[in-house]
Symmetry: C2
Subunit: 200 residues, 2 copies
């Protein structure tokens, strides 16, 4: 036995959300039908608008419904000589929230993964190289994830930078602030040792 066609359709459609299976979809559908029809209608509208209008920034590839995103539109940011490369818009947001970086960004949407058919083109590295050629960039900070693929991607981009005589740097990896050494894994400890800085 199934629910009525429209309820079934709603439950099945909710499964397009990440981590939502049949039971959670059912729970969500009932919650919306019973308690938040207005919120559901607003969600429907927000989905339609975002899906049809949100594209990528022409310069940094971040999500935006305009040609350039807010960061790329800011003259102050544009004048910056440091470019930070991240894997996803969520990473960009995390860096922005730390408040330490005031330069430009470039979003890869993933990392090099030849087996999955993700090469330099899919990561927009042509677009990145075009920007490096312009000559306004003095340093590229590679903030890809500290995974094998993220490291490989960082090395690949560092090579592009060296071809254009641009300094490439990698964010530091080590013991998280507030963490306890006892519970940090060996690889992280090794990297934090190798990356030790002078205390003078």
């Amino acid at each position: 036995m199934e629910f009525s066609p429209l309820v079934e359709q709603l439950i099945e459609s909710l499964r397009c959300l990440p981590g939502v299976g049949r039971k959670s979809a059912q729970r969500a559908a009932f919650h919306l039908l019973e308690r938040d029809r207005r919120g559901a209608n607003e969600l429907a509208e927000a989905l339609q608008q975002a899906m049809s209008e949100v594209g990528h920034c022409q310069q940094c590839r971040n999500y935006t419904e305009q040609e350039l995103c807010t960061i790329c539109q800011s003259p102050k940011r544009q004048a910056a000589s440091v470019l930070c490369i991240v894997e996803s818009p969520a990473d960009l947001m995390a860096l922005e929230q730390s408040g330490q970086f005031h330069g430009r960004y470039f979003v890869l949407y993933g990392h090099l993964s030849p087996l999955d058919g993700i090469g330099p083109e899919q990561l927009g590295l042509n677009l990145l190289e075009q920007q490096l050629i312009k000559g306004t960039t003095e340093e590229v900070v590679l903030a890809t994830n500290p995974t094998v693929e993220g490291d490989a991607t960082a090395h690949y981009i560092a090579e592009i930078c060296s071809r254009h005589d641009i300094k490439a740097s990698r964010i530091a990896h080590g013991v998280p602030v507030g963490g306890e050494l006892e519970y940090v894994d060996g690889t992280t400890l090794a990297r934090s040792f190798a990356g030790r800085t002078s205390m003078d």
Copy 2:
């Protein structure tokens, strides 16, 4: 710093789903924008259709976009003399999937809870009484949850039944099949003891 207005609006709207906070909403929004725009558009349509068209069955109060739900439309079900009362459509579905019951249902959408302003009227007990008066029902099975409120609701409905000379029964509560006695809580064990049946 925030994302672009449409992306922000999408993230905020996704929070109307139960158990979805800012981070999960962000993750879902990026997932849809990056990998499943078609699914998102289908979800938007399903939401709009369901919210505007799905109402309650005139007879059992289950969700349906028609006047009567599929169960109430079935002549076989209509001829049944047993009526099962559940708290939610999800409970109804769980009972249907067990395949043991072939009678009619009635959905309360909750339980009596005077402090929250949920009285007999909110649970549709007038509608239920009207159906009992018709005289086609011989037994009412009370399948509300085994909680204090569920039990109170069951007792309240059992009283209505006795006023109309209809037999009221409660589903059995006890040790779940496949469960181990050692790990079952005391209240459940006590109820399973009190509800013991003869093995003849």
